[in-house]
C-alpha cells in the first residue's frame, strides 16, 4: 500500500493491467501468429515456413470471392431482418410490457439457453420438405410443388437471423428501456404527431442500441459457417465454411489464416465506414 501512496500515478496502470494482460495473451499474441501463419508456405509433413507469401491473400480473394461476397450479403440481410423483427418487439416490451416485462424478456431469451447446434438443427425440422410450413406454402401456391425451403439461401439467412437475434434485441431493449417517457409527452405538447415523435425522439435515442445491435449481429454472422453447413447446400457456403475446411480438412494453415485475416479486415473496414456514416459522437455521447 505504501508503494501506491508514494506513486499515486501507478494506480490506473495497475487497474488496467489485468485487462491488458488478458488482451495481450488472448488477442495480440494469437493475432500475431495468425498474421505470421497467413504468410507462410509448406505443408503439414514438411512443416510450414515463413516465406512472406502474399499470394496466399490473392489466392483466397480470387478463388473464394463468391463465398466472400455471399457472406457479406447473408450477414447484411440477416442483420436487417433481425433489426426489423427486434425493434417493434423490444419496443413493445420496454414501453408497454408493464408488469410482464421481466417475463417477456425471459421468454425472448429462453430459447438461447439451448445450445447453438440444436437450435440450428431444429430449423431442419421447421423447414422440412414434409413439414407444416412448406406444406401450407405449397397449398397456397407460394412455392412450387417440388419446391423447398430447406437447403436454400432462405433457410441459411433465416437460421442466421434467428441465432443472432438476441444480440440485436438486447442492446436496443436497453436503449429503449432507459429513455424517459416524459420526452414523448413533451414532444406531444409541441404538436408532434406520434410518427414525428418517434422519428425525432425515440429513434435517435435508441440509435446507440441499434448501432451496438447491428454490430454484434453482423460481425459473428459474417464468420458463421454452421447455418450454411446444416441448412444450406454447397451453393450457400460462406467464407467461414472455406476457412473451416482449409484449416481442418485440407490442413492448409496459411491459406486458412489468410482467409481469417481477410475476414477480420473486411469487418473492420465495414465497421469503420458504418460508424462514420452514423457519426460516432452521436452514438457515444
Amino acid at each position: 500500500m505504501g508503494y501506491l501512496r508514494r506513486h499515486p500515478r501507478a494506480v490506473p496502470y495497475l487497474l488496467i493491467a489485468p485487462g491488458l494482460i488478458w488482451l495481450g495473451l488472448l488477442f495480440v499474441v494469437p493475432l500475431y501468429y495468425l498474421l505470421s501463419t497467413s504468410l507462410q508456405s509448406g505443408d503439414i509433413y514438411e512443416g510450414f515456413r515463413q516465406t512472406f507469401s502474399w499470394s496466399n491473400y490473392s489466392e483466397m480473394a480470387s478463388q473464394y470471392r463468391p463465398q466472400l461476397v455471399r457472406s457479406i450479403q447473408y450477414a447484411a440481410i440477416a442483420t436487417l431482418a433481425a433489426l426489423v423483427i427486434a425493434y417493434p418487439l423490444v419496443y413493445f416490451i420496454a414501453r408497454r410490457g408493464g408488469q410482464w416485462k421481466s417475463l417477456l424478456l425471459v421468454l425472448l431469451i429462453a430459447p438461447f439457453f439451448v445450445t447453438y447446434l440444436i437450435r440450428t438443427l431444429a430449423w431442419q425440422t421447421i423447414l422440412a420438405d414434409e413439414g407444416l410450413i412448406v406444406g401450407v406454402l405449397r397449398d397456397v401456391g407460394l412455392i412450387a410443388d417440388d419446391g423447398r425451403l430447406l437447403a436454400t439461401s432462405f433457410a441459411v439467412v433465416a437460421g442466421i437471423t434467428y441465432n443472432y437475434f438476441p444480440f440485436m434485441a438486447l442492446p436496443i431493449y436497453v436503449a429503449l428501456e432507459q429513455f424517459d417517457g416524459r420526452l414523448l409527452e413533451a414532444a406531444g405538447d409541441l404538436y408532434a404527431n406520434p410518427l414525428k415523435a418517434f422519428l425525432r425522439v425515440t429513434l435517435p435515442i435508441s440509435l446507440p442500441g441499434v448501432f451496438a445491435g447491428t454490430l454484434t449481429t453482423f460481425i459473428p454472422a459474417m464468420g458463421d459457417f454452421v447455418n450454411a453447413q446444416l441448412l444450406g447446400t454447397p451453393k450457400q457456403y460462406m467464407i467461414g465454411n472455406v476457412i473451416q475446411s482449409k484449416f481442418l480438412v485440407v490442413v492448409d494453415y496459411p491459406l486458412a489464416s489468410a482467409g481469417a485475416v481477410m475476414l477480420m479486415a473486411l469487418i473492420l473496414v465495414g465497421v469503420f465506414l458504418y460508424a462514420r456514416a452514423l457519426g460516432t459522437e452521436r452514438l457515444t455521447g
Partner: protein, 389 residues
C-alpha cells in the same frame, strides 16, 4: 513447424485438462493377454525391447459417441468394466471424437510438443496413417496382442502387422434409399442422374467416401488413386452439383432428413442405417454392384501413451466374446469374424445381418480408399472446391 507450434501453445489451455495419466506403473494383477506365441514382426521385436510390461494405474481412451457398448440400466460399458475387473486398471473414457480432422486439430499441438494427450484414440485409417507419418503414434507391443490372429481383415500397407493401429470396427459406405419415395436406387449413376431424385440426395463431405463410390462406379481401383481418373470423376461430381441434383454434402447429419423423408436417397454408412431402420423400416441400404467402400477405425497409441496397457486393452477387445458384445451393440462391422457364433448367442438377428457380419460376396465388393490420396493436399483442395468450401 516451429512457428505453428508456438501458436498452438494457446490452444493447449483448452484441452490440457484432458487428464494426465500417471505413468508410474503398478504390478500387473493379471494379464488379458501377454502371450508370446502371437504375431511377431520386426517392429514388434523392436518395440518389445523397450516396453516395460507393467500396467499403468490409469488408461485414457478417446472414442466417438455411441461407439461402445452401454448397459441401458447402469449406463456403463460392460466392455470397459470388464477390462478394469480383469486388469485392475481404471479407464478414463472420453467420447470426444466427432471428426478425424477436428480431433487432429486438437491433439496436433500437444503431440508435436511431445506432451501426453491420451493413451489410445480410435481414429480412421487414413488419419492414423497421417499421424504415424508425423511420428505421433507409438507402436503396439505386438507380443502382448496375441489375439491379433483373430483379425479377419488384411493389414494395410501403412500398418504392417497392425503395429500402429489395431482394428476397432469397420464401416461400409454404400447407398441408402427410402422405399416409400423411390422403388430402388442401385447405382451411383442412378443417384447422380435420376430426375426424380433432383435435390433429394446427399453425398458425404468426406472425400474417400464420395469419390470412392464414384470411382468404383466407373470401374476404377480406389486403393491406389490415379490422378486422371480422379479428375474425371470429380468433373462428374461437379456436374451433379451444378445440375442441382445434390442437395447437400454432409457428415453424420444426413440421418435426420433421411429418416424424415426429405431425402429420398443418399450415400450412407451401414451402421447408421441399421439404427435408423429401427424407426423406419422403409429405409434400405445397398452396396452397389460396382462396389462400395470399407473404412476401418483403429485403436492407436498416441505418443506418450502407455504402450503395454494399451496393448493389453487392444488384446482384450479382440477376444471374440468381447468383440461380439461390442458389435451387437454398435452395429458396425467387427474385424473379428470369430465373433459371429458368440454374437449369435447374444442376438441371433444381429449375427444374420449382412451389414454387421457381411458374407464373402459382400466383402469382395468392398475397397478401402487410398490413404495416401486422402492425406494429399491437392486432392483435398480439388474435392473441397467442388463441395463448395
Amino acid at each position: 513447424m516451429t512457428e505453428l507450434n508456438r501458436r498452438q501453445l494457446l490452444l493447449r489451455g483448452a484441452i490440457g485438462a484432458g487428464g494426465l495419466a500417471s505413468m508410474s506403473a503398478i504390478l500387473a494383477a493379471c494379464g488379458g493377454g501377454g502371450g508370446i506365441e502371437g504375431q511377431t514382426s520386426e517392429q514388434a521385436t523392436e518395440a518389445a525391447a523397450s516396453v516395460e510390461r507393467t500396467l499403468a494405474d490409469k488408461f485414457v481412451l478417446s472414442n466417438w459417441p455411441l461407439y461402445i457398448d452401454i448397459d441401458e440400466e447402469t449406463k456403463k460399458s460392460p466392455t470397459l468394466d470388464g477390462f478394469t475387473a480383469e486388469t485392475g486398471v481404471p479407464v478414463e473414457y472420453l467420447e470426444d471424437i466427432n471428426s478425424n480432422e477436428e480431433f487432429f486439430g486438437i491433439v496436433q499441438g500437444p503431440l508435436s510438443q511431445g506432451q501426453f494427450v491420451r493413451d489410445v484414440a480410435i481414429i480412421t485409417g487414413y488419419m492414423a496413417a497421417r499421424m504415424k507419418d508425423l511420428g505421433y503414434l507409438e507402436q503396439f507391443d505386438l507380443e502382448s496382442v496375441s489375439d491379433l490372429g483373430n483379425v479377419s481383415i488384411p493389414a494395410p500397407p501403412w500398418n504392417e502387422g497392425f503395429a500402429y493401429g489395431v482394428p476397432w470396427q469397420s464401416y461400409m459406405t454404400g447407398l441408402s434409399y427410402n422405399e416409400d419415395k423411390i422403388s430402388s436406387v442401385m447405382s451411383v449413376e442412378e443417384l447422380l442422374t435420376e430426375p426424380a431424385l433432383k435435390g433429394k440426395i446427399t453425398l458425404f463431405n468426406s472425400m474417400g467416401d464420395t469419390m470412392g463410390l464414384l470411382m468404383q462406379d466407373a470401374g476404377y481401383d480406389t486403393t491406389k488413386i490415379d490422378p486422371d481418373q480422379f479428375d474425371e470423376q470429380l468433373e462428374r461430381l461437379q456436374k451433379a452439383v451444378d445440375d442441382g441434383q445434390v442437395r447437400q454434402f454432409t457428415g453424420n447429419e444426413y440421418t435426420g432428413p433421411l429418416a424424415k423423408g426429405d431425402l429420398w436417397a443418399c450415400m450412407a454408412w451401414s451402421g447408421d442405417i441399421i439404427q435408423l431402420q429401427a424407426d423406419n423400416d422403409k429405409l434400405r441400404f445397398t452396396i452397389p454392384d460396382k462396389g462400395g467402400q470399407i473404412g476401418t477405425d483403429y485403436m492407436c497409441i498416441l505418443k506418450g501413451g502407455d504402450v503395454y496397457t494399451s496393448s493389453v486393452f487392444a488384446n482384450y477387445v479382440l477376444d471374440p466374446k468381447i468383440a461380439a458384445q461390442l458389435s451387437v451393440y454398435i452395429n458396425y462391422v467387427t474385424p473379428v469374424s470369430a465373433a459371429k457364433p458368440e454374437a449369435e448367442a447374444i442376438d441371433p438377428a444381429v449375427s444374420e445381418n449382412q451389414l454387421i457380419f457381411p458374407d464373402e460376396a459382400t466383402l469382395a465388393k468392398l475397397q478401402e480408399f487410398d490413404p495416401v490420396a486422402l492425406n494429399d493436399q491437392t486432392y483435398n483442395e480439388k474435392f473441397q472446391a467442388v463441395i463448395g468450401a
